[in-house]
């Protein structure tokens, strides 16, 4: 046996396993996306089992492209992912820089900062939508009510009362209404994932070269210039990693969307797949293939963009 054959042979089981792991679901999805396949049909019982005789060609794709929610779901997927990435990276960098200094109680602060990341997504969504964002019982409703109460009590105040009596009564924002559901999802996911970004950025900041900073101080760089020209480029790679990992995770958001509005006015591709999969597996599979394509486009686009602006 040649010296190269043995290692290959030993690697083979792992490689073959991983290959199956990836290829089988992908192949099945592709297959289902080209046939008529539904879970329940009284008129056409032959469609309820997958088979080549039910071949539909690109019919499922056409059906998905023409369905009223598809383009909205694509747009919304990108909007949600983009907003979350933008917010988590900004908050992550700011918080990481802030807590990178030594201060009393550092350990506790760091543990507390990381903790949102350990909460289950569904629990996170339930907590946010009911306890914070609910227009009646949540913090949202209570705060608005409180403000309205204060203003109402000032109506009778001497001298300035006329001014406050001109104020309108504030209305709490309902995050279950169609357009705002996406904002609620963005808020809760940002809250949960900012710690992840902080964690990665903080470890990276600790490896920053002190002498470079001192050199920059002597070169006349102020705090902002040091951040802009040393810290930010130093964080370029971790930012790229955070963006990539989060893009993968957030393109498949589901629990939050389900819990906030059951998809009313706020769908993304995975949610659309879920809706199709109630009965029409063919259409769901076709949507899945679209989702794979979208994920790849997003990944390539993000890598290029992040790499270019920051590595420079």
């Amino acid at each position: 046996m040649s010296s190269r054959k043995l290692p290959r042979l030993l690697q083979a089981p792992a490689v073959i396993l991983l290959l199956f792991w990836m290829i089988v679901p992908l192949a099945m999805t592709l297959f289902f996306s080209f046939i008529r396949y539904v879970l329940n049909s009284l008129n056409r019982p032959e469609w309820t089992s997958p088979s080549f005789s039910n071949w539909r060609g690109f019919g499922n794709y056409e059906f998905v492209l023409n369905s009223k929610d598809f383009w909205f779901a694509v747009q919304n997927s990108l909007f949600i992912v983009g907003s979350i990435l933008f917010l988590t990276v900004i908050f992550g960098v700011l918080i990481a820089v802030l807590i990178n200094k030594t201060f009393p109680g550092q350990g506790i602060v760091r543990v507390l900062l990381i903790s949102p990341f350990f909460i289950m997504p569904a629990v996170n969504a339930v907590l946010w939508i009911n306890m914070i964002l609910d227009p009646v019982l949540g913090l949202n409703g209570l705060a608005i009510e409180g403000i309205n109460g204060v203003i109402a009590s000032l109506h009778d105040a001497p001298a300035v009362g006329w001014f406050f009596s001109l104020w309108p009564k504030f209305e709490p924002i309902s995050f279950r209404a169609t357009q705002t559901a996406a904002y609620a999802v963005i808020m809760m996911v940002t809250w949960q994932w900012t710690p992840f970004a902080v964690l990665i950025f903080m470890t990276s900041l600790q490896s920053e070269d002190e002498q470079q900073k001192e050199a920059a101080i002597l070169d006349g760089a102020g705090k902002w210039s040091q951040f802009r020209f040393l810290t930010l480029p130093h964080l370029a790679r971790p930012i790229a990693i955070v963006v990539m990992i989060q893009a993968i995770f957030h393109l498949s958001l589901y629990a939050e969307i389900e819990i906030v509005s059951r998809g009313n006015g706020n769908k993304n591709l995975p949610y659309l797949i879920g809706e199709f999969a109630n009965n029409n597996i063919g259409a769901a599979s076709a949507t899945g293939i679209f989702a794979v394509i979208l994920a790849n486009i997003v990944a390539i686009f993000l890598l290029r963009a992040v790499g270019k602006t920051l590595m420079e």
Binding site: D209, E214, L218, A221
Partner: protein, 335 residues
């Protein structure tokens, strides 16, 4: 431009006093070398001058102006670090331009200075590379270039050659000396290598435990070391220090004799010290012989010019040059 004065400068880290009250004047245009064993406070002293550390007490004056409270960037000094401290994501050109960019200099002026600096440092072909693609010596040159374009009133070097290999170090040493002759700017150079100190310095400041042991030209330190520490630190191989009976003969607590001031002979010489060869290092131009058995100093090192045919176990006779004997009292000070 470029006289630096330290007045009663003290530095404490918490309760530990790293530098007790210290006074030092570095004249304009001088090449001063701070030398001492690691942990002697030489780097701290340099950082105090640069402003990267705050003084606990005392004053730092540059050209007669008190800069103790002035931020580092306003002191008009440029520093070259041991790790080069180049900005890794910027090209060589941008690295050199950085201080000028921070000062808001016009692009045309920047380009002109970069070209000039690159030319004098042989970096013209590397201007568009990143530091990661350069060798250690080239990186150090970029760091020097970044310092030059600021036209500082003094250059501060913090062990700049320690990360280079031996051959490169000799080359860079010459380049920095040449640069000093050309620019005639004050330079302060920190090193633990006494060879660098001897070859480059106009004046050497020997430090130990934050205290200045002696300040002087390289040859002053070589010929008239103020105490045992300086005597042992300056010169290579190290000076032999003898205590006991032999020292008593010279009415001293300790006597010192440099390896190059001892004659070695394989034949019996009257009044000579007798010993056996431990190791003989044959360099061709010189022979360093380490000798055991001489009372009060073991091993004793002798430097003989040329190739001397001695080997391990040989008995040799050593006669010191009487005029070159250094005498020290029981406090270690020169008599």
């Amino acid at each position: 431009m470029g006289q630096i004065v330290l007045e009663n400068v003290v530095k404490k880290f918490g309760d530990t006093e790293v530098i007790p009250p210290l006074n030092l004047t570095i004249e304009e245009g001088e090449f001063a070398v701070f030398v001492g064993p690691s942990g002697c406070g030489k780097s701290t002293l340099l950082r105090l001058i640069a402003g990267l550390e705050d003084t606990t007490a005392g004053k730092v004056l540059i050209d007669g102006e008190d800069v103790t409270e002035v931020p580092p960037s306003k002191r008009g000094l440029a520093m070259v670090f041991q790790s080069y401290a180049l900005y890794p994501h910027m090209t060589v050109r941008k690295n050199i331009a950085f201080p000028m960019r921070m000062a808001g200099m016009s692009q045309a002026e920047q380009d002109e200075k970069i070209e000039a600096a690159a030319k004098s440092l042989n970096l013209t072909d590397y201007l568009d590379r990143k530091p990661g693609q350069l060798s250690g010596g080239q990186r150090q040159r970029v760091a020097i270039g970044r310092a030059i374009v600021r036209e500082p009133s003094a250059f501060l070097f913090d062990e700049p050659l320690s990360n280079l290999d031996a051959a490169l170090r000799v080359g860079m040493r010459l380049e920095i000396s040449e640069m000093h002759k050309r620019l005639k700017t004050t330079m302060i150079y920190v090193t633990h290598d006494q060879v660098e100190a001897m070859t480059m310095a106009d004046r050497i400041v020997v430090l130990q435990g934050g205290v200045i042991e002696q300040v002087g030209t390289p040859l002053e330190l070589y010929h008239t070391p103020r105490n045992k520490f300086v005597a042992g630190f300056i010169g290579s191989p190290k000076m032999n220090l003898l205590e006991g009976a032999e020292a008593k003969k010279h009415k001293a607590h300790t006597i010192g004799i440099r390896p190059e001031h001892i004659k070695v002979s394989t034949k019996s010489v009257k009044g000579a010290w007798k010993g056996t060869v431990g190791v003989a290092e044959h360099l061709g131009s010189d022979t360093f012989i380490h000798i055991h058995g001489v009372e009060g100093c073991d091993p004793m090192t002798v430097r003989a010019a040329g190739d001397v045919a001695v080997k391990h176990g040989d008995t040799v006779y050593l006669s010191p040059d009487k005029s070159q004997i250094h005498k020290f009292d029981d406090a270690g000070l020169r008599i």
